[in-house]
Amino acid sequence: MTGRRVVITGVGVLAPGGIGVKNFWSLLSEGRTSTREITFFDPSAFRSRVAAEADFDPWEHGLGPQEIRRMDRAAQFAVVAAREAMADSGVELSEIEPHRAGVTVGSAVGATMGLDREYRVVSDGGRLDLVDHRYAVPHLYDYFVPSSFAAEVAWAAGTEGPATVISTGCTSGLDSVGYAAELIRDGSADVVIAGATDAPISPITVACFDAIKATTPRNDDPAHASRPFDRTRNGFVLGEGAAMFVLEELGAARRRGAHLYAEIAGYASRCNAFHMTGLRPDGREMAEAIRAALDEARTDPEDVDYINAHGSGTKQNDRHETAAFKRSLGEHARRTPVSSIKSMVGHSLGAIGSIEIAASVLAMENNVVPPTANLHEPDPECDLDYVPLTARDWRTDTVLTVGSGFGGFQSAMVLARPERNPA
């Protein structure tokens, strides 16, 4: 099945400060931020007390009492975003063979909120080593193995093709969509509902990032705490959310007159095989992933109009990826706008790669590049055009979006207008 091309025909987003595509794009294009002091629990004992939380009411988004009861928050996000994407795409799954439609959901940390909460119950607040099964909720197994997220989306969509969760840390959201595109290319499926979700804002996650000082301690100014590429940045801001897409084979999508947001023209992933949390400053493996993705997309570095950066706001990341862009795109890196939406919606771990694909697709749709908020004093070692503070009108036909994650994963995806490469 060579020669099959894959397009995005539907988008659904659930991000802090922007539930639904429309609200999400308003937030980004206006350069507003959604980071705030944590409200989900009392954060006073923690080093970093800031997060980008979504004001999400599952009832409002059509989930029933049973669904709300059994699903972890991250699963709820995925189902709501998937429904938006399917409605947006207009794809009629009932018209194709059920086993030709698949689901892939990325998630770095699975049902962390549910696990943290239920652990407290069965351990009597951490007192019991031999935790008590009599207090366990029946759906605890679904928290234990987060493939339940893919099952929930498949049930919601009515698909019977390949279903899985991709969990490659903070590149999960890119890798999930990359995996889904491959399923369509190699003929395993014709339609895939793909994307990623995470809802990690719970005490255990906050504590584990405190322990490695990865999150920002800028607690006195939560709204401006996420400062990628700025000289004063000192760690990322934890976020949550989901983005899901409808991916289809290009020919079939054209035949049914679907709106084509973008073609997934190239995707690649590499490992740095260096350190579980550390990055080498030279950006070598990310550069290699970018080169491979461009190669698969048959796109020259000069054709990249916009780079949606990982831009987590840690010193080591911002320098690492700046080096990777220069290494892979050469001089063109200096002429290309680069921005990090994590400045506005925080870092939702496994979900963010998909949320950033959504941002990239919307940048193409609107020919507007979202800004890097809170960037007032660029780090002298980060010397590219990071689109500070204000969105920019910019002809955007081809986007490079990248991610970098614990475990050493480095991923890159090239999104292009399908019109540019007529079938």
Binding site: V103, F144, A151, W155, E160, P162, A273, H275, E288
Partner: protein, 418 residues
């Protein structure tokens, strides 16, 4: 231009055998690794048996620096990876770093490590949570740690589809080989025999409450009443045939010939379960007819309803008693994402030996029209095998393995396939 994906190395860490040869001897000899849980006191729980990798001490196999930062499942996986690489004769330093990757499956991550840190958090406070928690428990940790230990920098991945994920990972390894990677280390190792993992699995409602190791896990038996969980799994070295030739490989276990994955219709839809479809897709993908398959390694849930679905799918595809069926996992318990990779390893060893290992302890229920290999191994040539795996929620995966005449008359030509 696509390359055939061949298996050149096997690493096994199983409750009934440490290392592939030890495991194979145990499995053919009907030796079980199931016994009362020793990793914690199971008295207070309704299920008390497990397949533990007993006598494993990470200190004997791994650098001291790795021990504090790894869950038991990662320690077992690192050792399994070492075994697989040694078995394949791979020296990773001699191969192109971006040509080698790691794709593992996980089901629940490093749950025991996670329990320890949750306990620290809630009993003592946030500042007692380990700096390693941010990755030691998460699903991607085995792929990350293996890639670091061996300098494998190519395309990699992690799949979570409960027990079906072990086959999904191997299929993804094949996909990466076809896209041009030379070598992918793939499979799965899980271990969550800790109180918190136990409670989560009890909540799943599928654990056997029997206290008799030889009566607790009885798939396809009239007394089937749930399964025994276990720990461990297998890791495989999967290479492109040309890359393996270039490396001078002289022994190949077999080829990953086909794969199919489906998801069951949503509960209450009245539609047929999708396992049969997964088998058909995998056979089509391998371009083999059902008659060409010599053995099926069953998922073997030991839940009557699920056994019925599986027996029916096998019967529909292969005919009544049309193919030998086996489930040696009655000797190990169900290993989460490690189960199916171990079955793949077992199938490849069965090809090598011409011996199908048995489904121990089981008396086939009369309602199932399958040719279940029970009690003793069956001697018969095995050229092609199907491995099935299912995950809770409705995940179905099937992999087809095929023998390969690597050193036969068509030496140097990768089309020397039987």
């Amino acid at each position: 231009m696509t390359s055939r994906a061949v298996v050149t190395g096997i690493g096994v860490v199983s409750p009934n055998g440490f290392g592939a040869e030890d495991y194979w001897a145990a499995t053919c000899g009907g030796k079980s690794g199931i016994d009362r849980v020793t990793r914690f006191d199971p008295s207070r729980y309704p299920a008390r048996l497990a397949g533990e990798v007993s006598g494993f001490s990470a200190q004997d196999h791994l650098p001291s620096r790795l021990i504090p930062q790894t869950d038991r499942m990662t320690q077992l996986a690192l050792v399994g990876a070492d075994h697989a690489l040694a078995d394949a004769g791979v020296s990773t330093g001699d191969l192109p770093e971006f040509g080698m990757g790691v794709v593992t499956a996980s089901s629940c991550g490093g749950f025991e490590f996670g329990q320890g840190e949750l306990r620290n958090l809630w009993s003592k406070g946030g500042q007692y949570v380990s700096a390693y928690q941010s990755f030691a428990w998460f699903y991607a940790v085995n792929t990350g740690q293996i890639s670091i230990r061996h300098g494998m920098r190519g395309p990699s991945g992690v799949l979570v589809s409960d027990q079906a994920g072990g086959l999904d990972a191997i299929a993804q390894a094949r996909r990466l080989i076809r896209k041009g990677s030379d070598l992918i280390l793939s499979g799965g190792v899980d271990a969550s025999i800790c109180p918190w993992g136990w409670v989560a699995q009890l909540a799943g409602g599928r654990l056997s409450t029997s206290e008799q190791p030889d009566r607790a896990y009885l798939p396809f038996d009239t007394d089937a009443a749930g399964h025994v969980p276990g720990e461990g799994g297998a890791l495989l070295i999967i290479e492109g045939a040309e890359a393996a030739r270039r490396r001078g490989v002289t022994r190949v276990y077999g080829e990953i010939g086909g794969y199919g994955a489906t998801f069951d219709p949503r509960p209450g839809s009245g539609r047929e379960p999708a396992l049969r479809k997964a088998i058909e897709i995998a056979l089509d993908d391998a371009e083999l007819s059902p008659e060409e398959i010599d053995v099926v390694f069953a998922d073997a849930a030991a839940i009557p309803e699920l056994d019925r679905v599986e027996a029916m799918a096998i019967t529909e595809v292969f005919g009544c008693r049309g193919v030998p069926v086996t489930a040696p996992k009655t000797m190990t318990g169900r290993l989460g994402s490690g189960a199916a990779p171990l079955d793949v390893a077992t199938a490849l060893l069965a090809m090598r030996s011409g011996l199908i290992p048995p489904t121990t302890n089981v008396t086939l229920a009369p309602e199932y029209d399958i040719d279940l290999v029970t009690t003793l191994p069956r001697r018969t040539p095995v050229h092609a095998a199907v491995v099935l795996a299912r995950g809770q929620g409705g995940f179905n995966s099937a992999v087809v393995l095929r023998s390969i005449d690597w050193n036969g008359p068509k030496e140097g030509n990768e089309h020397g396939i039987r």
